[in-house]
Symmetry: C2
DNA sequence: GCAGGGCATTTTGTTGACAATTGACATTCA
DNA sequence: TGAATGTCAATTGTCAACAAAATGCCCTGC
Protein backbone atom coordinates (compact mmCIF):
# COMPACT_ATOMS: atom_id res chain seq x y z
CA UNK A 1 0.00 0.00 0.00
CA UNK A 2 1.47 3.31 1.17
CA UNK A 3 -0.78 5.52 -0.89
CA UNK A 4 -2.63 8.65 -1.57
CA UNK A 5 -2.42 11.62 0.75
CA UNK A 6 -1.20 12.58 4.21
CA UNK A 7 1.18 10.90 6.54
CA UNK A 8 1.16 7.19 7.02
CA UNK A 9 -0.28 7.19 10.51
CA UNK A 10 -3.44 9.01 9.43
CA UNK A 11 -4.02 6.73 6.48
CA UNK A 12 -3.62 3.65 8.61
CA UNK A 13 -5.86 5.07 11.34
CA UNK A 14 -8.62 5.78 8.86
CA UNK A 15 -8.45 2.35 7.32
CA UNK A 16 -8.42 0.52 10.63
CA UNK A 17 -11.22 2.71 11.94
CA UNK A 18 -13.36 1.72 9.00
CA UNK A 19 -12.54 -1.93 9.60
CA UNK A 20 -13.57 -1.72 13.23
CA UNK A 21 -16.72 0.36 12.73
CA UNK A 22 -17.93 -1.82 9.89
CA UNK A 23 -17.43 -4.88 12.01
CA UNK A 24 -14.89 -6.39 9.66
CA UNK A 25 -12.56 -6.57 12.63
CA UNK A 26 -14.73 -8.11 15.37
CA UNK A 27 -14.40 -7.28 19.05
CA UNK A 28 -11.53 -9.13 20.64
CA UNK A 29 -9.59 -9.48 17.39
CA UNK A 30 -5.89 -9.04 18.20
CA UNK A 31 -3.91 -6.56 16.14
CA UNK A 32 -0.22 -7.35 15.88
CA UNK A 33 2.20 -4.70 14.80
CA UNK A 34 4.30 -6.93 12.62
CA UNK A 35 1.43 -8.35 10.58
CA UNK A 36 -0.19 -4.94 10.17
CA UNK A 37 3.15 -3.59 9.01
CA UNK A 38 3.29 -6.26 6.34
CA UNK A 39 -0.34 -5.68 5.35
CA UNK A 40 0.18 -1.94 4.85
CA UNK A 41 3.66 -2.28 3.44
CA UNK A 42 5.26 0.02 5.98
CA UNK A 43 7.45 -0.43 9.03
CA UNK A 44 6.19 -0.83 12.56
CA UNK A 45 6.67 2.84 13.44
CA UNK A 46 3.55 4.32 11.85
CA UNK A 47 1.62 1.22 12.86
CA UNK A 48 2.48 1.82 16.50
CA UNK A 49 1.38 5.43 16.18
CA UNK A 50 -1.93 4.38 14.67
CA UNK A 51 -2.58 1.76 17.34
CA UNK A 52 -1.85 4.30 20.06
CA UNK A 53 -4.26 6.78 18.53
CA UNK A 54 -7.03 4.23 18.06
CA UNK A 55 -6.60 3.08 21.64
CA UNK A 56 -7.07 6.62 22.84
CA UNK A 57 -10.14 6.94 20.67
CA UNK A 58 -11.59 3.97 22.49
CA UNK A 59 -11.76 1.57 19.57
CA UNK A 60 -8.89 -0.62 20.75
CA UNK A 61 -7.64 -1.72 24.11
CA UNK A 62 -3.89 -1.98 24.57
CA UNK A 63 -2.06 -3.70 27.40
CA UNK A 64 1.60 -2.87 28.02
CA UNK A 65 3.89 -5.39 26.35
CA UNK A 66 0.87 -7.41 25.30
CA UNK A 67 -0.45 -5.69 22.27
CA UNK A 68 -3.76 -4.32 21.10
CA UNK A 69 -7.10 -5.83 20.29
CA UNK A 70 -10.46 -4.52 19.16
CA UNK A 71 -12.38 -3.20 22.15
CA UNK A 72 -15.75 -4.49 23.27
CA UNK A 73 -17.64 -1.25 22.84
CA UNK A 74 -19.14 0.74 25.68
CA UNK A 75 -20.57 -0.95 28.73
CA UNK A 76 -24.33 -0.78 29.06
CA UNK A 77 -24.10 1.28 32.25
CA UNK A 78 -22.50 4.31 30.59
CA UNK A 79 -24.38 3.96 27.32
CA UNK A 80 -27.16 6.40 28.31
CA UNK A 81 -24.55 8.93 29.37
CA UNK A 82 -22.70 8.65 26.07
CA UNK A 83 -25.92 9.09 24.12
CA UNK A 84 -26.83 12.12 26.17
CA UNK A 85 -23.43 13.72 25.65
CA UNK A 86 -23.52 13.12 21.94
CA UNK A 87 -26.97 14.68 21.70
CA UNK A 88 -25.74 17.66 23.62
CA UNK A 89 -22.74 18.16 21.36
CA UNK A 90 -24.66 17.88 18.10
CA UNK A 91 -27.54 20.03 19.29
CA UNK A 92 -25.01 22.63 20.40
CA UNK A 93 -23.35 22.52 17.00
CA UNK A 94 -26.60 22.88 15.14
CA UNK A 95 -27.75 25.85 17.22
CA UNK A 96 -24.35 27.40 16.76
CA UNK A 97 -24.38 27.29 12.97
CA UNK A 98 -28.09 27.59 12.24
CA UNK A 99 -28.19 31.33 11.68
CA UNK A 100 -25.32 31.28 9.20
CA UNK A 101 -26.47 28.31 7.13
CA UNK A 102 -26.33 29.05 3.40
CA UNK A 103 -27.91 27.43 0.39
CA UNK A 104 -24.54 25.88 -0.41
CA UNK A 105 -24.50 24.34 3.05
CA UNK A 106 -27.87 22.75 2.49
CA UNK A 107 -26.83 21.27 -0.82
CA UNK A 108 -23.64 19.95 0.77
CA UNK A 109 -25.83 18.09 3.25
CA UNK A 110 -28.04 16.90 0.40
CA UNK A 111 -24.98 15.49 -1.34
CA UNK A 112 -24.06 13.46 1.72
CA UNK A 113 -27.61 12.18 1.93
CA UNK A 114 -27.52 11.09 -1.69
CA UNK A 115 -24.52 8.92 -0.98
CA UNK A 116 -26.34 7.70 2.12
CA UNK A 117 -29.33 6.74 -0.01
CA UNK A 118 -27.21 4.89 -2.53
CA UNK A 119 -25.44 2.89 0.19
CA UNK A 120 -28.69 2.12 1.98
CA UNK A 121 -30.37 0.85 -1.18
CA UNK A 122 -27.43 -1.38 -1.94
CA UNK A 123 -27.59 -2.67 1.60
CA UNK A 124 -23.91 -1.80 2.04
CA UNK A 125 -23.67 -1.57 5.81
CA UNK A 126 -20.06 -0.40 5.98
CA UNK A 127 -20.66 2.42 3.53
CA UNK A 128 -23.95 3.38 5.19
CA UNK A 129 -22.26 3.67 8.56
CA UNK A 130 -19.67 5.90 6.96
CA UNK A 131 -22.24 8.20 5.40
CA UNK A 132 -24.16 8.35 8.63
CA UNK A 133 -21.04 9.53 10.41
CA UNK A 134 -20.30 11.97 7.61
CA UNK A 135 -23.75 13.50 8.00
CA UNK A 136 -23.42 14.14 11.70
CA UNK A 137 -19.80 15.12 11.37
CA UNK A 138 -20.72 17.78 8.86
CA UNK A 139 -22.63 19.80 11.45
CA UNK A 140 -19.92 19.52 14.04
CA UNK A 141 -17.12 20.48 11.67
CA UNK A 142 -19.14 23.35 10.28
CA UNK A 143 -18.73 25.11 13.62
CA UNK A 144 -15.03 25.26 12.88
CA UNK A 145 -13.75 24.53 16.36
CA UNK A 146 -11.14 21.72 16.44
CA UNK A 147 -11.81 21.03 20.11
CA UNK A 148 -15.48 20.50 19.44
CA UNK A 149 -14.73 18.13 16.58
CA UNK A 150 -12.29 16.19 18.72
CA UNK A 151 -14.76 15.81 21.57
CA UNK A 152 -17.47 14.70 19.19
CA UNK A 153 -15.23 12.10 17.59
CA UNK A 154 -14.12 10.87 20.96
CA UNK A 155 -17.76 10.43 21.97
CA UNK A 156 -19.12 8.85 18.83
CA UNK A 157 -16.29 6.36 18.48
CA UNK A 158 -16.92 5.14 22.00
CA UNK A 159 -20.57 4.50 21.38
CA UNK A 160 -20.30 2.84 17.96
CA UNK A 161 -23.24 3.15 15.64
CA UNK A 162 -25.97 0.62 16.25
CA UNK A 163 -28.11 -0.38 13.31
CA UNK A 164 -30.17 -3.13 14.82
CA UNK A 165 -32.87 -0.66 15.75
CA UNK A 166 -33.79 -0.08 12.11
CA UNK A 167 -35.69 -2.66 10.15
CA UNK A 168 -34.08 -1.28 7.04
CA UNK A 169 -31.16 0.97 6.32
CA UNK A 170 -33.63 3.19 4.51
CA UNK A 171 -35.47 3.95 7.76
CA UNK A 172 -32.27 5.49 9.03
CA UNK A 173 -31.96 7.42 5.80
CA UNK A 174 -35.45 8.84 6.23
CA UNK A 175 -34.62 10.10 9.71
CA UNK A 176 -31.71 12.04 8.31
CA UNK A 177 -33.69 13.49 5.45
CA UNK A 178 -36.21 14.80 7.95
CA UNK A 179 -33.48 16.88 9.57
CA UNK A 180 -32.56 18.43 6.26
CA UNK A 181 -36.18 19.22 5.50
CA UNK A 182 -36.59 20.98 8.83
CA UNK A 183 -33.54 23.07 8.02
CA UNK A 184 -35.04 23.96 4.64
CA UNK A 185 -38.12 25.17 6.52
CA UNK A 186 -35.84 27.27 8.75
CA UNK A 187 -37.28 25.43 11.72
CA UNK A 188 -34.40 25.19 14.21
CA UNK A 189 -36.29 23.56 17.05
CA UNK A 190 -37.72 20.86 14.82
CA UNK A 191 -34.30 20.18 13.35
CA UNK A 192 -32.74 19.87 16.79
CA UNK A 193 -35.51 17.54 17.94
CA UNK A 194 -35.16 15.35 14.87
CA UNK A 195 -31.41 15.27 15.18
CA UNK A 196 -31.62 14.25 18.82
CA UNK A 197 -34.22 11.62 18.02
CA UNK A 198 -31.82 10.09 15.54
CA UNK A 199 -29.14 9.64 18.20
CA UNK A 200 -29.75 6.59 20.29
CA UNK B 1 16.08 11.10 33.69
CA UNK B 2 14.40 7.80 32.71
CA UNK B 3 12.47 7.27 35.89
CA UNK B 4 10.47 5.20 38.23
CA UNK B 5 7.68 3.02 36.92
CA UNK B 6 5.92 2.15 33.68
CA UNK B 7 6.90 2.59 30.07
CA UNK B 8 8.63 5.69 28.92
CA UNK B 9 5.72 7.16 26.99
CA UNK B 10 3.47 7.20 30.03
CA UNK B 11 6.08 8.77 32.25
CA UNK B 12 6.79 11.47 29.70
CA UNK B 13 3.09 12.12 29.13
CA UNK B 14 2.48 12.57 32.83
CA UNK B 15 5.39 14.93 33.26
CA UNK B 16 4.48 17.06 30.25
CA UNK B 17 0.84 17.12 31.30
CA UNK B 18 1.85 18.50 34.66
CA UNK B 19 4.01 21.11 32.97
CA UNK B 20 1.17 22.26 30.74
CA UNK B 21 -1.56 22.22 33.37
CA UNK B 22 0.57 24.06 35.89
CA UNK B 23 1.34 26.70 33.31
CA UNK B 24 5.06 26.03 33.39
CA UNK B 25 4.80 25.48 29.66
CA UNK B 26 2.79 28.47 28.43
CA UNK B 27 0.38 28.35 25.52
CA UNK B 28 2.19 28.58 22.21
CA UNK B 29 5.44 27.13 23.58
CA UNK B 30 6.92 24.89 20.89
CA UNK B 31 7.92 21.38 21.88
CA UNK B 32 10.72 19.91 19.79
CA UNK B 33 11.31 16.22 19.77
CA UNK B 34 15.08 16.41 19.86
CA UNK B 35 15.31 18.74 22.84
CA UNK B 36 12.69 16.79 24.78
CA UNK B 37 14.61 13.61 24.02
CA UNK B 38 17.72 15.16 25.52
CA UNK B 39 15.80 16.51 28.52
CA UNK B 40 14.34 13.10 29.37
CA UNK B 41 17.43 11.17 28.39
CA UNK B 42 15.64 8.96 25.90
CA UNK B 43 15.43 8.71 22.14
CA UNK B 44 12.84 10.43 20.00
CA UNK B 45 10.62 7.37 19.77
CA UNK B 46 8.84 7.59 23.13
CA UNK B 47 8.80 11.37 22.81
CA UNK B 48 6.87 11.13 19.56
CA UNK B 49 4.40 8.76 21.18
CA UNK B 50 3.90 11.14 24.09
CA UNK B 51 3.40 14.15 21.81
CA UNK B 52 0.85 12.26 19.77
CA UNK B 53 -1.07 11.28 22.88
CA UNK B 54 -1.03 14.78 24.33
CA UNK B 55 -2.22 16.19 21.02
CA UNK B 56 -5.17 13.84 21.05
CA UNK B 57 -5.92 14.85 24.61
CA UNK B 58 -6.17 18.42 23.42
CA UNK B 59 -3.27 19.87 25.35
CA UNK B 60 -1.02 20.27 22.32
CA UNK B 61 -1.61 21.15 18.72
CA UNK B 62 0.49 19.38 16.12
CA UNK B 63 0.87 20.32 12.48
CA UNK B 64 2.25 17.78 10.02
CA UNK B 65 5.96 18.22 9.52
CA UNK B 66 5.88 21.31 11.67
CA UNK B 67 5.92 20.02 15.18
CA UNK B 68 3.89 20.48 18.31
CA UNK B 69 3.21 23.39 20.58
CA UNK B 70 1.14 23.97 23.70
CA UNK B 71 -2.47 24.56 22.71
CA UNK B 72 -4.41 27.73 23.52
CA UNK B 73 -7.08 26.06 25.63
CA UNK B 74 -10.71 25.87 24.66
CA UNK B 75 -12.39 28.64 22.72
CA UNK B 76 -14.91 30.64 24.69
CA UNK B 77 -17.78 29.52 22.48
CA UNK B 78 -17.56 25.86 23.46
CA UNK B 79 -16.58 26.51 27.06
CA UNK B 80 -20.14 26.30 28.41
CA UNK B 81 -20.64 23.03 26.57
CA UNK B 82 -17.47 21.55 28.03
CA UNK B 83 -18.47 22.60 31.52
CA UNK B 84 -21.90 21.08 31.07
CA UNK B 85 -20.48 17.80 29.83
CA UNK B 86 -18.03 17.56 32.68
CA UNK B 87 -20.81 18.19 35.19
CA UNK B 88 -22.86 15.49 33.58
CA UNK B 89 -20.04 12.95 33.71
CA UNK B 90 -19.13 13.59 37.32
CA UNK B 91 -22.73 13.70 38.51
CA UNK B 92 -23.33 10.44 36.69
CA UNK B 93 -20.30 8.89 38.38
CA UNK B 94 -21.35 10.05 41.81
CA UNK B 95 -24.88 8.70 41.45
CA UNK B 96 -23.47 5.48 40.14
CA UNK B 97 -21.22 4.79 43.12
CA UNK B 98 -23.16 6.47 45.92
CA UNK B 99 -24.99 3.38 47.18
CA UNK B 100 -21.81 1.33 47.44
CA UNK B 101 -19.61 3.92 49.13
CA UNK B 102 -17.78 2.49 52.13
CA UNK B 103 -16.03 4.05 55.10
CA UNK B 104 -12.71 3.26 53.41
CA UNK B 105 -13.84 5.19 50.37
CA UNK B 106 -14.63 8.23 52.46
CA UNK B 107 -11.25 8.15 54.15
CA UNK B 108 -9.58 7.77 50.76
CA UNK B 109 -11.27 11.00 49.73
CA UNK B 110 -10.23 12.59 53.00
CA UNK B 111 -6.63 11.65 52.29
CA UNK B 112 -6.73 13.41 48.95
CA UNK B 113 -8.23 16.47 50.59
CA UNK B 114 -5.45 16.53 53.18
CA UNK B 115 -2.89 16.75 50.41
CA UNK B 116 -5.08 19.39 48.79
CA UNK B 117 -5.07 21.38 52.02
CA UNK B 118 -1.31 21.14 52.38
CA UNK B 119 -0.73 22.33 48.81
CA UNK B 120 -3.25 25.15 49.15
CA UNK B 121 -1.68 26.44 52.36
CA UNK B 122 1.75 26.42 50.79
CA UNK B 123 0.31 28.30 47.84
CA UNK B 124 1.72 25.64 45.53
CA UNK B 125 -0.46 26.11 42.45
CA UNK B 126 0.90 23.20 40.45
CA UNK B 127 0.37 20.76 43.28
CA UNK B 128 -3.06 22.17 44.11
CA UNK B 129 -4.20 21.69 40.54
CA UNK B 130 -2.99 18.12 40.72
CA UNK B 131 -4.89 17.38 43.93
CA UNK B 132 -7.98 19.03 42.52
CA UNK B 133 -7.84 16.70 39.56
CA UNK B 134 -7.12 13.73 41.82
CA UNK B 135 -10.26 14.50 43.84
CA UNK B 136 -12.57 14.58 40.86
CA UNK B 137 -10.78 11.72 39.21
CA UNK B 138 -11.37 9.56 42.26
CA UNK B 139 -15.13 9.54 41.76
CA UNK B 140 -14.88 8.78 38.09
CA UNK B 141 -12.38 5.96 38.50
CA UNK B 142 -14.35 4.49 41.37
CA UNK B 143 -17.05 3.54 38.86
CA UNK B 144 -14.50 1.20 37.32
CA UNK B 145 -15.38 1.80 33.68
CA UNK B 146 -12.33 2.61 31.54
CA UNK B 147 -14.47 4.31 28.90
CA UNK B 148 -15.94 6.64 31.46
CA UNK B 149 -12.52 7.55 32.79
CA UNK B 150 -11.24 8.19 29.30
CA UNK B 151 -14.14 10.44 28.40
CA UNK B 152 -13.74 12.37 31.62
CA UNK B 153 -10.03 12.89 31.05
CA UNK B 154 -10.67 13.95 27.50
CA UNK B 155 -13.15 16.52 28.74
CA UNK B 156 -11.25 17.93 31.68
CA UNK B 157 -8.00 18.31 29.79
CA UNK B 158 -9.75 20.34 27.14
CA UNK B 159 -11.17 22.77 29.63
CA UNK B 160 -8.09 23.23 31.80
CA UNK B 161 -8.62 24.12 35.44
CA UNK B 162 -9.14 27.78 36.03
CA UNK B 163 -8.12 29.18 39.38
CA UNK B 164 -8.67 32.84 38.83
CA UNK B 165 -12.19 32.54 40.17
CA UNK B 166 -10.93 31.85 43.69
CA UNK B 167 -9.46 34.58 45.82
CA UNK B 168 -7.47 31.94 47.61
CA UNK B 169 -6.59 28.35 46.92
CA UNK B 170 -8.24 27.58 50.25
CA UNK B 171 -11.64 28.67 48.94
CA UNK B 172 -11.37 25.91 46.38
CA UNK B 173 -10.38 23.51 49.13
CA UNK B 174 -13.48 24.41 51.13
CA UNK B 175 -15.73 23.65 48.17
CA UNK B 176 -14.29 20.18 47.94
CA UNK B 177 -14.59 19.54 51.65
CA UNK B 178 -18.28 20.41 51.43
CA UNK B 179 -18.78 17.55 48.99
CA UNK B 180 -17.17 15.09 51.36
CA UNK B 181 -19.31 16.32 54.23
CA UNK B 182 -22.48 15.82 52.22
CA UNK B 183 -21.38 12.28 51.50
CA UNK B 184 -20.80 11.69 55.21
CA UNK B 185 -24.39 12.81 55.78
CA UNK B 186 -25.53 10.31 53.11
CA UNK B 187 -27.07 13.23 51.24
CA UNK B 188 -26.68 12.33 47.56
CA UNK B 189 -28.53 15.29 46.10
CA UNK B 190 -26.57 17.79 48.15
CA UNK B 191 -23.32 16.13 47.16
CA UNK B 192 -24.23 16.22 43.49
CA UNK B 193 -25.23 19.86 43.74
CA UNK B 194 -22.03 20.80 45.51
CA UNK B 195 -19.94 18.85 43.05
CA UNK B 196 -21.62 20.53 40.09
CA UNK B 197 -21.22 23.92 41.70
CA UNK B 198 -17.49 23.30 41.92
CA UNK B 199 -17.22 22.72 38.21
CA UNK B 200 -17.08 25.94 36.30
C1' DG C 1 16.35 48.32 -2.84
C1' DC C 2 13.85 44.36 -3.63
C1' DA C 3 11.62 40.09 -5.79
C1' DG C 4 12.60 35.48 -6.94
C1' DG C 5 15.04 31.18 -6.78
C1' DG C 6 17.81 27.95 -4.92
C1' DC C 7 20.74 26.20 -1.19
C1' DA C 8 21.53 24.98 3.75
C1' DT C 9 19.73 24.12 8.16
C1' DT C 10 16.43 22.50 11.14
C1' DT C 11 12.76 19.49 12.25
C1' DT C 12 9.68 15.82 11.57
C1' DG C 13 8.65 11.18 9.23
C1' DT C 14 10.16 6.53 8.49
C1' DT C 15 12.90 2.58 8.83
C1' DG C 16 15.37 -1.65 10.45
C1' DA C 17 18.02 -3.45 14.23
C1' DC C 18 18.43 -4.46 18.98
C1' DA C 19 16.69 -4.85 23.94
C1' DA C 20 13.21 -6.07 27.30
C1' DT C 21 9.06 -8.30 28.62
C1' DT C 22 5.60 -11.74 28.54
C1' DG C 23 3.39 -16.34 28.45
C1' DA C 24 3.87 -21.14 27.43
C1' DC C 25 6.16 -25.13 27.79
C1' DA C 26 9.63 -28.15 29.49
C1' DT C 27 12.44 -29.67 33.30
C1' DT C 28 13.70 -30.50 37.84
C1' DC C 29 13.15 -31.74 42.53
C1' DA C 30 10.54 -32.67 46.62
C1' DT D 1 2.04 -35.98 41.18
C1' DG D 2 2.73 -31.29 41.37
C1' DA D 3 4.77 -27.02 42.50
C1' DA D 4 8.72 -24.27 41.39
C1' DT D 5 11.98 -22.82 38.14
C1' DG D 6 14.52 -22.48 33.67
C1' DT D 7 14.31 -21.85 28.90
C1' DC D 8 12.40 -20.39 24.56
C1' DA D 9 9.58 -18.16 21.08
C1' DA D 10 6.70 -14.38 20.12
C1' DT D 11 5.68 -9.63 20.76
C1' DT D 12 6.21 -5.06 22.20
C1' DG D 13 9.51 -1.24 23.68
C1' DT D 14 13.45 1.54 22.49
C1' DC D 15 17.07 3.29 19.81
C1' DA D 16 20.01 5.50 16.22
C1' DA D 17 20.48 6.34 11.37
C1' DC D 18 18.51 7.87 7.19
C1' DA D 19 14.85 10.24 4.18
C1' DA D 20 11.69 13.90 3.31
C1' DA D 21 9.64 18.18 4.18
C1' DA D 22 9.53 23.01 5.63
C1' DT D 23 11.71 27.32 6.89
C1' DG D 24 14.99 30.90 6.57
C1' DC D 25 18.97 32.87 4.43
C1' DC D 26 21.82 34.33 0.87
C1' DC D 27 22.68 35.26 -3.56
C1' DT D 28 21.51 36.77 -7.98
C1' DG D 29 19.43 39.73 -11.29
C1' DC D 30 16.94 43.62 -12.30
Amino acid sequence: MALLYRNLREQIVEQLRRDVLSGELPAGEPLREESLAKRFGVSRGPIRDALLQLSQEGLLVTLPNRGSKVGPGPSTVIQPLVVSIRRQIEAFALRQIFASLTAEDLSAIATILEAFHTSAIKGDLASTVEQDMAFHRWFVERVGDPDLTAMWLNTILRMRLRYTRHASLLDSYDEHVAVLEALRRHDLEAAVALLEANIL
